[in-house]
Amino acid sequence: MSIIIDRRLNDRNKNAVNRQRFLRRYKAQIQRAVDQMVSKRSITDMERGGTVNIPIKDISEPSFRHGKGGDREIVHAGNHSFSPGDRIPRPPPERGTAGGQGEGDAQDDFVFSLSREEFMNLFFDDLELPRLVRNVLGDVREYKWRRAGYTPSGVPANLSILRSLRNATARRIALRGALQRELCEVEAALQRAPTPELLRRAERLRARIRHLPFLDEVDLRFRHRVREPQPVARAAMFCLMDVSASMTEEKKDLAKRFFALLYLFLSRKYERVDLIFIRHTDNAQEVDEQTFFYGTQSGGTVVLSALKLMDEIIASRYDASTWNLYGAQVSDGDAFGADPEKSRAFLEEKLLPRLRYFAYVEVPDEPGRTGSLAHTYGRIEDERFAMRSVSARNGIYPVLRELFAREAA
């Protein structure tokens, strides 16, 4: 007798663990592939799964096998024209053996798809905002609803029927008591000596009892909830980008890519991160996301203007005691006159003490060259400050990783 079992409801992802092992083992290769993929994508298109190619050689499992060469005979099917002794030129090396058309297509790459989730995980694996503090704040923005008994007013959705009817019953009993007592007396008197006067009174009392409302407005009770403030980690990231004329389209593209990745990382990892976009030429302005990434503006260079604007915004909107503040600046490093030195001093003395972290990324004209800004920034000695240089698209992602690598706990 056969047993028939429905296994469709069983776990479908038996191989999830093996898949994860595979991804873990070839993390380096996959990350490289992800890296390449990102450098090819447009800014809007970063957040998507993707197809990964890994050279099959890297992941092959070796075993003792016959190699090419030596003597052998292979039997095939479907002969229609060969006779014994017919000669066939040897096919070119890469292809399979004679006639074996199916064997010829050697696969070079191991191709597979990463889900969006896996892609993003790999992408932002081990990244986090440094020194994020969960601080209780005066101006709390996160609340939790909590029950707080009952109130006599509210929206119908919150009506507590049980409570309301219980109140109604109590009210009806209370109000009826006196009338009932009077009625009893009147009825007793009626028994003794019925008069029309007494009859009318009894009738009136009965009517009053009858007219007591079943449910009155005063009976209604509503479930009450109050919002309780919750401690929360709030962070604000200032994105500072140099859009002066010396920033060529290419450099701006690099800068925007860097911020796009940063933005993606922050908006994905942290729900409550305020992003402030500041772009500057010789004067700085706060702009929205759209303008920041897609706007075209050009001009001279005064780095200090951006830092000052940042300082103003902090002063007006982001109190350093209640916010985790971060800054990221991208520039080609060109700065003139006293500007770099002033900027350094401003950053080091005024801004940094209030910030958790400040990252400076330079996109130099040619790899290896340091701009004047980087030169002066180099003197800042503070663990909250980090500086990197990027000169090609595929360098952006590694730099982001370096800057926001999770600290070894």
């Binding site: 429905d6 898949r19 190699g67």
Partner: protein
């Protein structure tokens, strides 16, 4: 018992027909009503079909099967089953993940369909049926897997000798648990390293000549503890304090044992498990697990053509019988035949999608041919197969062939000239000394015997897997291990050999050498990993 219930069902169906046909109920008894119409399947229907098929397979044709366990699964689960080599349970390893990802990708992109079924050589015999199949396909798969493959697993000598259907699932449960425990105790990487190395040697971890004792979970665990305990007992600090032996005595010792092992050992994993100087007990146990798995799969590799041919022959025969009995309608049969024809299609070498000889096609054709030779032999058959031609009792002949052959010997014994003509078989010779390939032999009178021998040789294990054996272990000296690869008709190892040797070295811990010799034992090359 079973046939009685089926009979009851049939009469009940017959009666229903009688009632339905109010007038002229003449043909009602002869033509039973089909079990179902349309493509939808239900569990009750699967049960009904299974009973009907069992009655034919076991009752009429006398197939000897393990009990069946039919499991309905979804396509994702089928992909899962693919990755774990068809076993329902297995230890975790990245290579299974790789296989899974590869199949999943091919499937999602539509490059590859999924098998209709997977069947596991266990007792009870577990068959996975895909939920996407239609009723006709489910019936085909039940006939194919649950009665075809099943009876092959139970009957064929290689399976009887080398696998233990009773214990495999239990053993895999043990293996999974044990590997997981090791991962906990020694870390993922350490376990993965050992598994990687073992997998590289899996094809050389097979015994071909002596029978392993049956294993069960309890027994296996007891023995594993015993082995570990024994190793503990053997360890004695005091031996370390002995003064070093004098050179003379050492020499004497070497002379007393000139060479170890006395005979070359072809089961590399077994030798490593028993003799490796560096393996911890748990590592040796993992080597053992992989070796057991390799052994379990050994018969399947040797009987691909026969096994598939047998199952295909039986699904075809059984379902046709089902049709003859009027239990299925012609729509059902058309669908079955369409699927069947796809399965047994053999393309020519110059046609698209040609991938060598299709084992389903060859196996099916050979079993069908055997039946034909028994029933309606031609002159040629009488000349080639005098002992079976016209013997009428085809079931006995097929049963004998199924039980006592593997692919190589089955083809060498039973491939008929008629089939060689039908498949238009020919052999291409690829000799290193020649500038071009040439046609060695084709399907003609002069060629039949050689063609048959060549095709059989193609299913010989030596043709597929190089001959690598352990010839020397310097137990008294530097503990180096020497492997010998004997070239089969001058065919060298491919370049992965060096990688494999590194894996051997990891398991062995001391110098490992791979010596390549030609067919006359003359050394032609050497690789060494220190």
């Amino acid at each position: 018992m079973i046939s009685a219930t089926v009979d009851e069902r049939k009469t009940a169906a017959g009666q229903a027909t009688d009632v339905a046909q109010t007038a002229g109920a003449a043909g009602a008894v002869a033509a039973a009503r089909p079990l179902s119409t349309g493509a939808e399947w239900t569990f009750d229907l699967i049960d009904a079909y299974d009973r009907a098929i069992r009655e034919i397979a076991v009752g009429e044709f006398g197939l000897d099967c393990y009990p069946n366990q039919i499991e309905i699964i979804a396509s994702e689960q089928m992909l899962d089953a693919y990755a774990s080599l068809g076993l329902p349970i297995g230890y975790s390893h990245w290579s299974f993940g790789k296989e899974f990802i590869r199949n999943e990708h091919l499937y999602r992109k539509g490059h590859q369909g999924l098998a209709y079924e997977i069947v596991i050589n266990s007792n009870p015999c577990i068959a996975y049926l895909m939920e996407e199949n239609t009723m006709a396909m489910q019936a085909l798969v039940i006939a194919h897997a649950c009665y075809g493959h099943n009876s092959f697993f139970k009957g064929n000598y290689l399976f009887r000798q080398w696998t233990d259907a009773e214990a495999i699932i239990d053993y895999m449960v043990f293996a999974k648990k044990y590997v997981a425990q090791c991962e906990e105790r020694y870390g993922l990487e350490a376990v993965e390293e050992v598994l990687d190395s073992c997998h590289a040697l899996m094809s050389h971890g097979v015994d071909r000549y002596h029978h392993p004792a049956p294993l069960s979970v309890e027994e296996e665990r007891r023995r594993q503890i015993e082995r570990e305990r024994h190793a503990w007992k053997q360890f004695d600090e005091i031996w370390r304090t002995l003064p070093a032996k004098s050179r003379g005595r050492e020499r004497k010792g070497m002379r007393a044992e000139p060479s170890f092992p006395a005979e070359p050992q072809e089961n590399l994993l077994y030798f490593i498990e028993k003799h490796s100087p560096c393996l911890e007990p748990w590592q040796a146990e993992i080597v053992r697990i992989v070796r057991k798995m390799a052994q379990y799969f050994y018969p399947q590799g040797q009987t691909k053509v026969m096994n598939e041919g047998w199952a295909t022959f039986w699904h075809y025969t059984i379902l046709n019988r089902l049709f003859d009995k009027g239990l299925v309608d012609s729509g059902f049969m058309l669908e079955v035949l369409a699927a069947h024809t796809n399965v047994i299609a053999q393309r020519g070498y110059d046609q698209r999608g040609y991938a060598g000889i299709n084992p389903y096609a060859l196996g099916y054709a050979m079993f069908t041919e055997l039946r034909r030779i028994c029933e309606t032999p031609s002159e040629e058959d009488r000349h080639w197969f005098p002992d079976i031609a016209g013997c009428r009792n085809w079931r006995k002949v097929l049963d004998f062939a199924m039980r006592n052959y593997k692919d190589e010997s089955f083809i060498a014994q039973y491939l008929s000239p008629r089939l060689m003509r039908e498949f238009r078989l020919f052999a291409i010779a690829d000799h290193e000394g020649e500038d071009s390939l040439f046609v060695d032999v084709i399907h003609n009178d002069q060629g039949y015997r050689r063609l048959r021998r060549l095709l059989a040789a193609q299913y010989n294990r030596d043709y597929q897997i190089p001959d690598v054996q352990i010839v020397r272990y310097e137990r008294r000296g530097d503990r180096s291990l020497t492997l010998r690869h004997r070239r089969h008709r001058g065919r060298p190892l491919d370049e992965a050999a060096e990688q494999v040797l590194k894996h051997v070295h990891r398991l062995w811990g001391f110098t490992v050498r791979l010596v390549t010799v030609d067919e006359n034992d003359k050394q032609v090359g050497m690789l060494e990993v220190k």
